[in-house]
């Protein structure tokens, strides 16, 4: 039996583990079902900064996974929760899309313009424009607390690389010298500690599963959990050693897919 099967809980990345965008990854889906049948606690943690929990829940259901809202932690929701714990009802200005706005409002935060905001919340936006960047720049220059949903610089979309939230973080850094006061998404501890809280488990009792060394493995190490890298996404057999060298991090386990945990 694979040693990770002794863990009580699994913190699982979505993209590259159980699906690629809207397409399921069969081995990943099968594995999660079997882990749940064994009574393991599962929480999906995603750096997605444009989708609400509701949308990702629908996607996981379309993969054939029977999950509840409590089993999903998205950067949008985690960001809203982080701010509403720090300052309930705070006024926020965001660069983000509808999915992020939805979560901010559901958490009781008030969406306002940059000049009266108490928080700048940076998240990716496929509708980004000069006016929105000007507002983000001015919010940043005002010196208000600055929270980013996730640090991802480039996102590997189906037709090639597209800008991640890092595009806006980088633009603001270059223009103002400021980086976010808090980044919520992986590899930050913020979202990972929220995941542990939700599971009600300690870091030694969970395995962190993902397809990216600098995101998922780094996030697992940030909370001191054991990490499993699967080769169904960004990292492949071919680039594995290069990725390990580049990021200077070694996963505790590497498997072809999450289902391999039951094999061999």
């Amino acid at each position: 039996m694979h040693p990770l099967l002794e863990k009580e809980g699994f913190i699982v990345d979505i993209d590259g583990v159980v699906g690629k965008s809207k397409t399921p990854i069969v081995e990943g889906v099968k594995a999660v079902k079997r882990l749940k049948e064994m009574g393991k606690k599962i929480i999906f943690v995603s750096n997605n900064s444009t989708r609400s929990r509701r949308i990702l829940l629908d996607r996981l259901k379309s993969f054939g996974l029977d999950v509840t809202e409590d089993e999903i932690l998205v950067a949008t929701y985690a960001t809203a929760r982080f701010i509403s714990k720090e300052r309930p009802g705070a006024k926020v200005f965001t660069t983000g899309e509808k999915g992020l706005m939805e979560e901010l409002e559901l958490a009781g935060l008030k969406l306002v313009d940059y000049d009266v905001a108490e928080y700048l919340v940076v998240g990716s936006n496929r509708g980004i424009n000069f006016d929105l960047m000007t507002k983000a720049l001015r919010a940043c220059l005002r010196g208000i607390r600055y929270v980013a949903t996730n640090p991802d610089r480039v996102f590997p979309s189906e037709d090639g690389p597209i800008p991640g939230t890092g595009m806006i973080i980088g633009a603001l850094y270059w223009m103002t010298g400021r980086e976010p006061d808090v980044i919520v998404g992986k590899p930050s501890k913020v979202i990972m500690e929220e995941a542990l809280n939700t599971l009600g488990l300690k870091s030694e009792d969970v395995a962190v599963v993902g397809d990216q060394i600098d995101v998922d493995v780094a996030a697992g190490k940030a909370i001191g959990a054991e990490t499993l890298l699967v080769l169904t996404g960004v990292t492949t057999k071919e680039n594995l050693q290069k990725m390990i060298n580049r990021h200077g991090l070694r996963p505790d386990y590497v498997l072809d897919s999450l289902y391999s945990i039951f094999e061999g």
Copy 2:
């Protein structure tokens, strides 16, 4: 007589010296007229990355200045000229606006999409959007030669700070780790050497006049010319010492306006 009046030529910034956006600065305009009457050679050098020479020429004429195209060197035009000297007829992809596109085409360069371009030309664009940033990202990742019109991070517009070309440079840097191979605009030597060539003078025979220490004074020092900082723009009596300390550069002369060169 002011010692700079012994120089044969003057390299003069536009914004903050002879005008603020569309409004003339009376002392600056008067001074340039008098210098021209004395037979001094003048060239206006501007980091503007969205206007063609033609548009800035019209603006200077509206200030009452009688200038020809040869007396204006804009970052748009200088960028086009730099590339067309390096590779005549090259295929370029640009993030820039119509003014930059106009100059690139006038210089015989071919405007093409990111995937077949030999050059990535980054200039500011008030119509920037996610699609254009995606193309710039992919051009950058292709490793083609990367030229930026100017390095300005933030531009002080009439209603507050707005993003400069640096917004795009910063976003690309954060996403790819690449900075431009060549920056044309001040404080780069590229545009300043072109200015000297156009004047037909050596650096010891010209004075460089501007309102910003990190842009104009730095550009003058880059070619070893004497520099005059005027207090009709970004730098004021109040922030002068702070600006000198911040940028670690001291102008050779500081005057209230360019016209003060004739006074006292």
